[in-house]
Point group: C2
Chain length 133, copies 2
DNA sequence: ATTTGTGTATTATATACTTAATACACCAAA
DNA sequence: TTTGGTGTATTAAGTATATAATACACAAAT
C-alpha cells in the first residue's frame, strides 16, 4: 500500500480516489477487508482522523460497509463496483480536455504525445502486477 | 476575460495559468498591456490582493514586467513566450497520464475517448475566435 | 492643486484541512 | 478479567488561502 500524496488536494480525497482506483483495477474483491483506520494511517503516515474521514466518505458513497466493530469491507454491490471504473475514466478525460482545450493543439499531436508517454510507462512496468501494496 | 474558477486550487494559481494559456494560444502580443490589478479583480470578481499575488507570481516567473506605475505588460522575451506553450502541454499530459495510469485502460480505448470528446468540442466552437475576453 | 488610477504593502478575519490528543463502546483473544 | 484492536466522536491548535479594509508613493489628467 503506497499512495503518492500531493499537497494541493485534501488528503482524505486522495485516499478515497486511491481505493477507487484499486477497485477499478480489480485489485479488491467484493467483500474484501480493508485496513483499519489506524492501520491505514500508519501505512500512509497520515493522521487516523484523516483516515477516518476518508472511510466515512467511502461509506457514504456506498463503496465500503462496516458491520459491528469489525474492519470495514469493500461493497458486495456489483453495480457500484462496475460504476467506479467508468466514473474514474470519464473524470480523468474530462479534466484533461478542460486543461488542454485553451491551448489549441491539434488532436493528432495530442494523441501522439499521449501514446508516447503511455507506452513508455507500459514498457517500464511490463509484467508487473498492479498491486503495489 | 473570463476564467472558470474552481475551489480546490488557489485562485492566484488559476489566474497565473489563465494568462499562460492566453500567451500560449497567441492571444497576447509581446509587450501588450494587461489589466491593472484592480481592473482584473473587478472582472473576475476576486479580491485585488489575490490579483496582486497572481501578478507578483507572474513577474517572478518573467512572464510580465512592470515599469514605474504603469500597467504591467507581457514580457517581450520570445524565449519565455515560446516555452510557456510547451510547458502547459507537457504539464497537462503528465497529469493526465498520472491520473489514468492506475486504471489500466488500453491506450487505444483512451485515444478513442479523447478524440471523441475533443472533436466534439471542436465542432461546437468552429469558427470561433480564441479570445473570450 | 486636486482627482484619479497605477503598483505595492500591511493587518485582521474567516474558512478548510490536517494534525494531535483523547475518549468511549464493543468484542475477541489471552 | 484484562488486554488490545475495532469503529466512532470531540476538542484544540496550526497552516494556507481568500477576503476585507486600508495605506502610501507616484504620475498623468483635469
Amino acid at each position: 500500500m503506497k499512495v503518492n500524496l500531493n499537497k494541493r488536494e485534501p488528503v482524505y480525497v486522495q485516499v478515497v480516489r486511491h481505493f477507487k482506483e484499486q477497485i477499478a483495477a480489480g485489485n479488491y474483491e467484493p467483500g474484501q477487508e480493508i485496513p483499519s483506520r489506524r492501520e491505514l494511517a500508519n501505512q500512509l503516515k497520515i493522521n487516523p482522523n484523516t483516515a477516518q474521514r476518508a472511510y466515512k466518505e467511502m461509506e457514504e458513497q456506498g463503496l465500503i460497509f462496516t458491520e459491528g466493530n469489525n474492519p470495514s469491507r469493500i461493497t458486495k454491490d456489483g453495480k457500484v463496483i462496475g460504476t467506479v471504473r467508468e466514473e474514474l475514466i470519464i473524470q480523468a478525460v474530462d479534466a484533461f480536455i478542460t486543461s488542454i482545450r485553451p491551448i489549441n493543439i491539434p488532436v493528432d499531436d495530442l494523441v501522439g504525445l499521449i501514446k508516447e508517454k503511455y507506452t513508455e510507462i507500459e514498457r517500464n512496468t511490463r509484467g508487473d502486477s498492479n498491486d503495489r501494496s
